[in-house]
């Protein structure tokens, strides 16, 4: 295999042996890859400060088809993670989105939209402190990139459009809203009027700073949906939840 050049976001790092480092990267052209950097923990020439989580880097790597792991030859920083470390909430927010993307993608699946989405989030985290509303907004955006967006517009059972005033029944199992008729046959959780409509406007890209009630219910919907459908434990969310 020839040497490949790509841009990547560093998702995780792990020390391996005396001086090597195994990293998981989300690359622009090749999706998620796991790669080893020989001397990655010590080399001051090739990898100094580059293979750190949340860095946006330029890499050169080899990947043999018979091997599961790529081998990084060189890495340079395009945009460093500087600014994320300034407080606990920022690093927890960045960790949450990076971990989410890491756990919900398969190796080698190219997803440019997700790459750009993740990059945008990391750039924003460096400059602003995310509110709960921002976190829900971006989470929906990432779910959209991954193809897991809950349905907030039509009934997931009969497919009919549900008017805004009737958007109160959410089926975690079916991954979307139910119309009043279908809600009689399918398990659901009901939410006050305006909550699902608010989430629906987030999906359209309208950002609003919802009140505390809205955010509590929105978090409940998202947590239920993610834990049922995606079945992954996001370690950083436990910490983030205490801070938002």
């Amino acid at each position: 295999m020839p040497l490949q050049k790509d841009e990547a976001i560093v998702l995780t790092k792990k020390a391996y042996g005396e001086s090597d480092r195994i990293v998981r990267l989300f690359t622009l052209s090749g999706g998620k890859i796991t790669a080893i950097a020989k001397g990655g923990s010590k080399s001051q020439k090739r990898f100094m400060n580059t293979l750190e989580p949340f860095n946006h880097i330029r890499i050169e790597y080899f990947k043999k088809q018979t091997k599961t792991m790529a081998r990084i030859e060189n890495a340079d920083i395009i945009e460093s993670n500087s600014g994320i470390e300034l407080n606990l909430k920022r690093i927890c927010t960045a960790s949450f989105f990076v971990e989410f993307a890491d756990k919900l993608t398969k190796e080698g699946e190219r997803n440019i939209e997700l790459f750009n989405g993740l990059k945008g989030i990391l750039d924003d985290v460096k400059n602003i402190e995310f509110t709960s509303s921002d976190i829900v907004f971006y989470l929906l955006r990432i779910l959209g990139c991954l193809g897991f967006m809950p349905n907030f517009n039509t009934c997931v059972q009969c497919g009919r459009d549900v008017p805004d005033e009737d958007k109160v029944f959410f089926s975690r199992e079916r991954g979307g809203i139910l119309c009043p008729v279908c809600s009689q046959a399918i398990p659901f959780k009901s939410y006050p009027r305006g909550i699902i409509r608010g989430l629906s406007s987030f999906v359209r890209g309208d950002r609003c700073n919802g009140d505390l009630d809205f955010l509590t219910y929105a978090q409940d919907i998202m947590e239920g949906f993610i834990s049922f459908h995606l079945d992954v434990e996001i370690k950083s969310y436990k910490l983030l939840k205490n801070l938002i």
């Binding site: 001051q44 400060n49 989580p53 920083i77 470390e85 949450f96 983030l240």
Partner: protein, 198 residues
Amino acid sequence: MYYPEPIENLIINLMKLPGIGRKTATRLAFFLLNSDESYISELSRSLTDIKDKIRLCSVCYNLTEKDPCQICSDERRDRDTLCVVEEPSHMMVIEASYPNRYRYHILHGVINPLDGIGPDDIHINELKLRIEKENIKEIIVATNPNIEGNTTAHYISEILKGSQVRITRIAFGIPIGGDIIYTDSQTIKSSIENRKDL
């Protein structure tokens, strides 16, 4: 190929050590099998001793045989300054450069949300209590200059805001013997920002 059960068990247990595969474990097992009885007794005693005798110092959380540890009991050391490090091995490196100068506080980790490690999982709250109790004037935060180490340093400075203690961070810059050509922009920026008068 299967070896007699005791040898097989030894191989399996040696394979649990980091960086040891089956081949190396087999070689080590046969080395032990052919070793003197006295060496085997010494080795097995050393292994049980590290579990039986080693504990954490109740003051600084260093690994020690007696509590408080030798460093905390040493009256010659600076009583106003505390050096905060991630691991006991990091303390040893600083101790080698400044023998008998500082006292330490070992966090046993750094804040790392990706691994689910938050401030309550390391000895940060104990640090705060210790600073108040021992009337510390300065803490030197000597965590690694990476994202986790820097976050931990910022968190420490945040929780100690308002206290009288001076909080300092080890300097970042080009290493002695390093080469500017190979230095990343973040390190260059840091070394320019933290430049010294000649």
